[in-house]
Amino acid sequence: MNESERDAFDQALDTRVIQGRSLWVDAWHRLLKNRAALASLLVLVVMVALVIIGPMMSDWDHEIPDWDNYSTPPSLETGHLFGTDALGRDLFVRTLIGGRISLLVGIVATLVSLLIGISYGAIAGYFGGRVDNLMMRFVDGIYAMPFMFFVIVLMVIFGRNIFLIFVAIGAVNWLDMARIVRGQTLSLKNKPFVEAARACGATEMQIIRRHIVPNLLGVVIVYVTLTIPQVILIESFLSFLGLGVQEPLTSWGALVNEGAQELETAPWSLLFPAGFLAATLFAFNFLGDGLRDALDPKDRV
């Protein structure tokens, strides 16, 4: 067989043997078809970039007032794109700095809840039986409690510390994660494909790595995308009540709180932070929905 013949043969072979597509490639293709989810992803990327780079590009600082402009509306002349607040601080920079805090809290607290939830759920699901029963009863028990209020009490008792916000919100939010991971582990453990892998002589580690984890990952990713906006919302809620991030730092919730008080005289100080907050939450929720459709084909219609 000469060179050209072999090429032709390979080509023919290529067309016939279709490369099996992995779950992830498949999911990615489905996601690309979902315009709303894709647009949301774009919004989030832009938002993160803006929040990181924006404050550096601006001439203004989030703490230092502009002595000539108190509560001025947005204008190009003064250089305050989003106007200034009652203390003369630039709202563009403050909105972006607030966004940094809100997004950071969203991501870190979600990771905290992820860590607790996955370990707890995986242990309960893996051991099953009485351990599982007891652990899940406990989750059911604290599920029924008004946890939002415990967070508020914690913030009051231990002072308003940003690390406490991470931990407190994370500690509240792990329950759902634990339930989901536990349920998933429980059902995966007894699936025929795990049995098949075991019959083929795969080791326990291989089964976990190749079969359990990838199947958990989809659910976890979807859930993370939907938890981040929840957490951002909780932080904003706390900040709105004056229990969250403290001055000179700020967050979207704190800015909305300030803006709501100057609603009549300076509506822009409410509208910009509120718009950023809503757009971010919207994008996360839509992306989460899109990811769920992409990663969970059985729900597709």
Binding site: A144, F149, L263
Partner: protein, 312 residues
């Protein structure tokens, strides 16, 4: 059914116990006592005060006393509002908050279910997409953003409605109730749509169609009831959502309900008031979940039979 309801009630008690225990020890680890004022009190007076409120007893004794107190629904004196007990404060705020929350819940059900069902019948058509996008907006925009915007539009720009304050009159209740109901409408619409789509695809609906029933009858007599089950199970979390939401709404609209007492209590470090409200909320949520379980079992006999079999 009675058996089932008693069993459910029994499982709610440990939760309640956990809640009260947690609340009690949270107060105890809080730094600063209730009588720490600007000036230190003379030791005799402090001892007398401690004796009056049983703070001089050993901790287990205090805990038992607290439990007994809560069993009698006595939340003790407020640490901040002198001459007021927490019960007085709650009795004053509760009618307001419950009216607000109840109306919001009714409104959410009355609007959310029809919208969801409507969208389900137009699945993947423009009407469905439009409604569900709006619902997503409703979920994404927090109520502390919605409330000021509503005030800006209806109270300040148009001047149709008062911006705050409270009395039992429609004009003062409209904006707070709408604010509280909006995210719930969105959730209920989404849930109804999802379950309705599933039910409409099931075989008993196909049977109903095959035997030539009018579409209206299929929808209202056959599809709607099973489709509403997930909505009912959402009512538990919804109750918790109303309580949390009422904190914000009462603050923005300056409504003297339990939620605003709670925030004020938290800022004043009025621990007894705060814990009283937390326990009350906890009891309400547990009660609501219990009722939801009962309704669910009543509507869907499989649940109570399965439970009995599992128990046997």
């Amino acid at each position: 059914m009675l058996n089932y309801s008693l069993k459910r009630l029994a499982s709610a008690i440990p939760t309640l116990f956990l809640l009260i225990t947690f609340a009690f020890f949270l107060i105890r680890i809080a730094p600063g006592g209730p009588f720490d004022g600007e000036r230190a009190l003379p030791p005799d007076i402090e001892a007398n005060l401690a004796a009056k409120y049983h703070l001089d007893e050993p901790l287990p004794m205090q805990y038992l006393r607290y439990l007994w107190q809560i069993v009698r629904l006595d939340f003790g004196p407020s640490f901040h509002y002198l001459d007021w007990t927490v019960n007085d404060l709650i009795a004053q705020g509760a009618p307001v908050s419950f009216t607000l929350g109840g109306l919001a819940l009714l409104l959410a059900l009355a609007i959310g279910i029809p919208i969801g069902a409507w969208a389900a019948l137009r699945q993947n058509r423009p009407g469905d997409y439009a409604v569900m996008s709006i619902a997503m907006v409703g979920i994404s925009i927090p109520n502390f953003v919605v409330a000021p915007l509503l005030i800006l539009l209806f109270a300040i720009s148009l001047g149709w409605l008062p911006a705050g304050g409270w009395e039992f009159s429609p004009s003062r209740m409209v904006l707070p109730v709408i604010t509280l109901a909006l995210p719930m409408i969105a959730y209920i619409a989404r849930i109804t749509r999802g379950s309705m789509i599933e039910v409409l695809r099931s075989s008993f609906i196909r049977t109903a169609r095959a035997k030539g029933l009018p579409e209206k009858e299929i929808l209202f007599n056959h599809a709607l009831k099973p489709a509403l089950l997930p909505v009912i199970s959402y009512l538990g979390p919804a109750a918790a959502g109303i309580l949390t939401g009422s904190v914000v709404v009462e603050r923005i609209f300056t409504i003297p309900g339990i939620g605003s007492y709670f925030v004020q209590g938290a800022l004043n470090r009025d621990y007894t008031l705060v814990m009283g409200v937390v326990i009350l909320y906890g009891i309400l949520i547990i009660l609501f979940n219990y009722l939801v379980d009962l309704i669910y079992a009543w509507l869907d006999p499989r649940i109570r039979y399965d439970d009995q079999e599992a128990g046997a």
